[in-house]
Symmetry: C2
Subunit: 189 residues, 2 copies
């Protein structure tokens, strides 16, 4: 089964006030922590506004620069998807979620069955990321516009089309504001 | 018919001695001249060693950074191809061939018929670039390794599988050495 990972790193980081992805936790930039989680999988990193700052960290990765980053996250997901269009599924990962564990990722992939249009990780019942999206939804993703993610598609689906898998707290934690960084600096999943 | 353009700009420029693609002809960087030729078509620009120097020129383009650029041109073609895998054909354009004309490109595309596995532009019978490669050869391209381009595949094909179209001298002219730049500075196709 072919699964490609799309790591979204094109956001403007408005709430953070500048790009958070090269801010460090325990001396390692957040984006490097996130990439490390998916190191054994095929992946592309989508960058936007902060391409010049991020690239020096990404010289051993396939990186796609999204010139439409201002139009929102859907443009980044769609660019990544084009790269994996002939794959069975894509895992849409957020660059600012460095506390997802490799074990979480393995669980999400293992939960994927032909009957799942998507696999959504949960923690204590709350839905998180990264979400695995099967080929059967790729056409729907192509139709997304503006600053909306795959969630919009998943929210419209019947429960029996979706698969869920219980994961660590890391699937819920994103770095959104500078305060998050302070608070989570000592978080070790 | 869907045609995607792959503009190759990941080369090391060894013979030139540094990156030639931001050297200027009549005050316009070579890579910008080349991109201009294909402005009306869907395209990706593949960059490598000189990504940091080229990117500031490419902020309105879809750019793919090829981390395997040292392994040669086949790795760049394959990355670009992944982006257009569901297309009818790709036009493989070289970043250092800024004298191809829009008229040449129109002729190449117009010459594409279902019986052509590739369309090769010629000038006075000599074969040039960019070459249009049909979907039927995409699997062959996937098998390329190292510093070889699509030419290796085309050379093995039967003449009746290939289509040719006579174009301007621009399809033969690449900027290879600093002397080329001097000599061609006043070349206006």
């Amino acid at each position: 089964m072919n699964i490609g990972v799309i790591i979204l790193a094109a956001g403007e980081g408005k709430r953070f006030g500048g790009d958070k992805l090269f801010a460090k936790i325990d001396n390692i930039p957040i984006i490097m922590r996130t990439i490390g989680i998916y190191e054994d999988l095929e992946k592309v990193i989508i960058v936007g506004k902060y391409v010049n700052e991020l690239l020096p960290l990404l010289m051993d990765q396939i990186v796609i620069y999204n010139p439409f980053w201002k139009e929102g996250i859907s443009t980044s997901i769609k660019l990544g998807l084009r790269f994996f269009k002939d794959y069975d599924a894509v895992l849409v990962a957020l660059g600012d979620m460095p506390f997802v564990t490799k074990d979480d990722v393995n669980k999400i992939i293992s939960a994927f069955k032909p009957s799942c249009k998507a696999v959504i990780p949960t923690h204590k019942g709350e839905k998180g990321n990264p979400v695995l999206i099967s080929k059967s939804l790729f056409d729907e993703i192509e139709k997304l516009r503006g600053d909306v993610g795959a969630k919009v598609i998943l929210n419209k689906m019947r429960m029996e089309e979706l698969c869920f898998v219980e994961c660590s707290e890391g699937v819920l934690i994103d770095i959104d504001k500078k305060e998050d960084l302070m608070r989570l600096g000592n978080f070790h999943p």
